[in-house]
């Protein structure tokens, strides 16, 4: 008897509990950010996180956006899609953010794409895979700031054609960014008269890539194309040196940072890659439209964190600044209006290049955003436009 009464009491309490709506602070603009600052991709995500914190301070010091202070709520994904899914749900449903910046990796971006669309909240990803914003029909709420792998691959192929290279060996990571690059390479190689004589993949967990490189070497390519970020690419660079492979090595814009130089050491010398102009900002001609902004960002980052900035920090910089621009255009935090406003951002100078978004183009970059850079004696040197 007592138990039944107790249960009825509990039920009554629950049903008559007043509808409480948590008050959202109208005077702060809340922005979510998810980066992989722990885990395997932390050398990418940590600079992004630092950039976000740096920009939050700077923007608030300059008066905020639309007269309101901003708050950037940063959550860790550790490169794990499940964690990322939980994080975005927390940010959107619990914290009520207007938009989310990040994540760091292509794999995670693709994993949360559907959910972001479902929750009708804008996402500006800091990952490069083309598939993040293509096809546009299922990417209505998704944007990205890095140059896409497709663009980078095509730019490299164009250069290879000029260098009369027609047979290449391809070696990429088997997931995320690496896989995206492999896909694009296989798709466009023929258009530039290039034959992929050997295509190998490796897992990030693999200790070394000797087996794959041995296979590639046996097919005698004229150049090697490697698609991965710092750690994986460094493994490949080391392996190439060990195998005594002497042909030119091309890599992706994912390695344009100190992490690669440190991990690859001497074996990184000679690598050619397309990338945004951030890492060679000082070597740009004086009147280059991006130069002032790039140099300032580099200086600010270095003075606050005492370490060199890298392209990934640049992607986070772009994402947040573009969001700022969009908020200013939309003059509100209504998510629908914000989404439309991002599409209206044009001629915006970011670290990756000049952005021109539109309803069909959620990346906003073309291949002039790249220049070619060569690693010489552990330093990035401008190679070609």
């Amino acid at each position: 008897m007592k138990k039944i009464l107790l249960s009825l009491l509990i039920i009554c309490v629950i049903l008559t509990f007043p509808n409480k709506k948590l008050y959202s602070d109208e005077n702060t603009i809340k922005i979510g950010a998810i980066f992989a600052y722990t885990g395997g991709a932390s050398y990418l995500g940590e600079p992004e996180r630092k950039t976000a914190q740096m920009l939050e301070e700077k923007i608030n010091k300059q008066g905020g956006i639309n007269g309101k202070k901003i708050e950037i709520l940063i959550k860790d994904t550790a490169g794990n899609p499940q964690k990322a899914l939980n994080a975005i749900k927390e940010l959107v449903q619990k914290d009520g953010v207007a938009a989310i910046v990040g994540p760091t990796t292509s794999g995670v971006s693709l994993a949360i794409k559907n959910e972001m669309n479902n929750m009708q909240t804008p996402l500006i990803s800091c990952a490069a895979a083309e598939d993040i914003v293509v096809p546009i029909e299922n990417s209505k709420w998704i944007f990205k700031t890095p140059q896409s792998d497709k663009m980078a691959v095509e730019k490299i192929f164009k250069l290879m054609k000029e260098m009369k290279i027609s047979k290449i060996g391809l070696i990429t990571a088997d997931q995320g960014f690496g896989l995206g690059g492999a896909k694009q390479a296989e798709k466009y190689a023929a258009q530039y008269g290039i034959e992929i004589v050997a295509a190998e993949k490796y897992s990030p967990a693999d200790a070394e890539v000797n087996t794959q490189l041995t296979k590639i070497k046996s097919k005698k390519p004229q150049a090697i194309l490697c698609w991965d970020t710092d750690q994986g690419a460094a493994k490949v660079a080391k392996g190439i040196k060990a195998r005594g492979i002497k042909v030119p090595v091309f890599m992706s814009h994912g390695i344009a940072n100190e992490g690669f130089i440190k991990a690859a050491g001497k074996s990184g010398d000679g690598v050619i890659l397309p990338c945004g102009r951030l890492v060679i900002a000082e070597q740009l001609p004086k009147n280059h439209p991006q130069k002032a902004m790039l140099v300032e960002f580099k200086k600010d980052y270095f003075s606050k964190y005492k370490e060199e900035v890298n392209t990934f920090a640049g992607h986070a910089y772009d994402a947040i600044m573009i969001l700022k621009e969009a908020l200013t255009i939309a003059k509100s935090t209504d998510k629908s209006k914000l989404r439309d406003a991002i599409e209206q951002v044009k001629k915006f100078n970011g670290t990756a290049g000049a952005f021109n978004f539109s309803a069909d183009d959620h990346n906003g970059l073309d291949n002039t955003s790249f220049c070619f850079v060569k690693l010489e004696k552990g330093k990035w040197k401008f190679y070609k436009d």
Binding site: T211, K215, R243, A263
Partner: protein, 293 residues
């Protein structure tokens, strides 16, 4: 074609030696305690991490770093036994499995917090990194080191078991614990020693391997599992079997990865394991155990 084949064999022997050492570790613990230590792989990882700390962080020369690493991992093995294994010796089988898995998770986490998540680079043991045997085949000198070190310690272990009193006590303990106790062999001490020895072996494997492959906090799991596969293939409880199983596994794995597909490398190892478990669970050299009713 044959050059690639030779390259795969070299890789196979290298990793095989590592798996053999790890498998020996499993066997040693299994013989004294009937426990399978799922955390064995973590000792390999700790070997690599500590090697980094001594050789790179503290900039000590290779030999003392190596010795210090081996001793440290032995010590960690002892602590592990005291803290976690001793209280659990009488728990049910599945509980013990989960406890050792719990230890593995714990150590991985601790390693992540102490050393960070990035791969740690350790310099190779000798100045010359590579020897070109021919145009196609390059021998990484570290491979030679790994092979040499593992063979060396296998011999030492063999001498330990055959020549020393403690070693013989081990063998007695595993064949008949009651009789062993009767003649004054302290079972607890045996268990402790077995953990120290097995951890030490794994740590040595890790320290030798990591200049080749870099050390990271989560490298241990797969090595532990493969070492266990090797132990079963060779025959659990048989020292020579563990060594044989290790080399076999290493070579088959590398050949499979090379000729079939590198992505399926681990799947190949586990497939071999399952085949053995289903058709010959006693392994190559093990004897059929009888189950008493």
């Amino acid at each position: 074609m044959s050059e690639i084949f030779f390259q795969y064999i070299i890789n196979g022997l290298t990793f095989g030696a590592i798996y053999a050492l790890i498998a020996l570790g499993f066997t040693v613990i299994y013989k004294t305690t009937d426990i399978i230590n799922f955390a064995q792989g973590e000792f390999v990882m700790l070997g690599g991490m500590l090697m980094y700390t001594f050789a790179e962080n503290c900039s000590m020369p290779i030999l003392p770093s190596f010795a210090l690493t081996a001793v440290s991992v032995c010590f960690i093995g002892i602590i592990t036994e005291r803290l976690f294994i001793r209280p659990a010796l009488n728990a049910s089988l599945i509980s013990v499995i989960i406890i050792t898995i719990g230890i593995s998770i714990l150590y991985q986490s601790a390693a992540m917090l102490i050393w960070g998540k990035e791969a740690l680079i350790i310099r190779p043991f000798s100045e010359t990194e590579f020897i070109e045997l021919s145009e196609e085949i390059i021998l990484n000198v570290q491979n030679v080191w790994i092979f040499g070190i593992t063979i060396f310690f296998m011999i030492i272990l063999h001498l330990f078991f055959e020549k020393t009193i403690t070693g013989k006590a081990f063998a007695a303990c595993s064949s008949n614990p009651n009789a062993a106790a009767l003649v004054g062999i302290n079972r607890n001490k045996m268990v402790l020693t077995s953990f120290a020895v097995s951890a030490g072996l794994a740590g040595i494997a890790g320290a030798a391997l990591c200049p080749l492959t870099n050390a990271s906090y989560n490298m241990g799991t797969l090595f532990g599992l493969k070492g266990f596969c090797a132990a079963i293939i060779g025959g659990l409880g048989n020292n020579l079997g563990s060594i044989l199983g290790g080399f076999m596994l290493g070579i088959i794995q590398e050949l499979g990865a090379g000729f079939i597909s590198s992505g399926y490398k681990d799947a190949i190892s586990f497939l071999i394991l399952i085949i053995f478990l289903v058709f010959k669970p006693s392994g190559l050299l093990g004897s059929k155990w009888k189950k008493r009713v």
